[in-house]
Symmetry: C2
């Protein structure tokens, strides 16, 4: 099982840039493969985030508790996505947030220190990292744009377009949380959006 | 005037990390100072974003037009903030967005190529860049959290806390656009929030 996760990770990084076989070996040598059970936590408030996490299969969820105890979902990370608390990871400050597994999930982790060494020693790994960060910035910017400019129905349609593999796997109340609408609103939208 | 902008920029970078006088000279040698008039554009849809822009004084605005022609403000950049279309800057793809000056503004620009060289040659410049990117990610994540979990009134209070120097300088309809509420809603909120 661990071998196939590392092979999955290798396929991903090769799809994004060119690496020599020595570079691939160096990257894989610091990549830790791990299996999470559904509902298992990767990060909780007070923890310092120490790893860059890449999802090979399954789906992770990044969320923050409101003062009323409600879970507010900031992102879903299905296969081929990365997840971490970027601020905690870079500054070493404790996180305010949770990361857990929505399904049994296979992940690859690289510690912050090893990740930094790879960026320093392998120029194309630095390029890969810049690409990941840029995509993440772009996604967040587009999400903010949708939040300030579109109604819930169009935001739901956009979610379905962006995550076609996810919307039928995730419980309705979690999609509602991600979109910032009530479950009732989302039920109504889905009822009228069956023709999507 | 250009000298004082470069000095302002030098103070900013020294406050974030340690640089030798040679490194400071190298950074300043590729920094272009520019004065923008109010309403002047720095970026328009179709342009490729070629510069990292740092604001010394004044305020820039980053926005996207909706299909109905409305301006949706994604960020304000007052002094000591950076602004660019990160995706266009890294990928070379044309931008969908506008950046313009809300006030007469003094800025420093560093081209993408020169910025990359500085990151490669000056380790602490790379650290500074990572810090800027992380802060930006954190700000966007917190804004998404506020959007999905808080009502307009609390989001306005948060805006005032984050940008105490801005909220009285920016026209009401622009703050409403940034918050994703109507001007009428914001007027009502401000009326009831005079005790902030």
């Amino acid at each position: 099982m661990p071998v196939s996760m590392l092979d999955f990770f290798e396929t991903y990084i090769k799809a994004h840039s060119t690496f020599s076989s020595e570079e691939i070996a160096a990257i894989k040598s610091v990549a830790i493969s791990k299996r999470l059970k559904k509902k298992q936590y990767l990060l909780r408030p007070g923890d310092v985030c120490r790893f860059h996490t890449f999802v090979c299969s399954g789906c992770l969820r990044y969320y923050r508790l409101g003062s009323d105890g409600a879970e507010h979902i900031l992102s879903f990370s299905p296969d081929n996505h990365w997840v971490s608390d970027q601020v905690s990871l870079s500054t070493g400050s404790p996180s305010d947030d949770y990361i857990d597994a929505l399904e049994d999930s296979d992940i690859i982790q690289v510690s912050a220190d090893n990740f930094r060494s790879l960026m320093r020693e392998i120029p194309n790994f630095d390029v890969l990292h810049a690409k990941i960060v840029t995509e993440d910035c772009g996604r967040n910017r587009d999400r903010i744009y949708m939040m300030i400019s579109h109604q819930a129905e169009e935001r739901y349609r956009q979610f379905v377009r962006l995550y076609p593999q996810l919307y039928h796997r995730i419980p309705l109340f979690m999609i509602a949380s991600y979109l910032g609408v009530t479950r009732e609103t989302l039920t109504r939208i889905r009822g009228s959006a069956n023709d999507i």
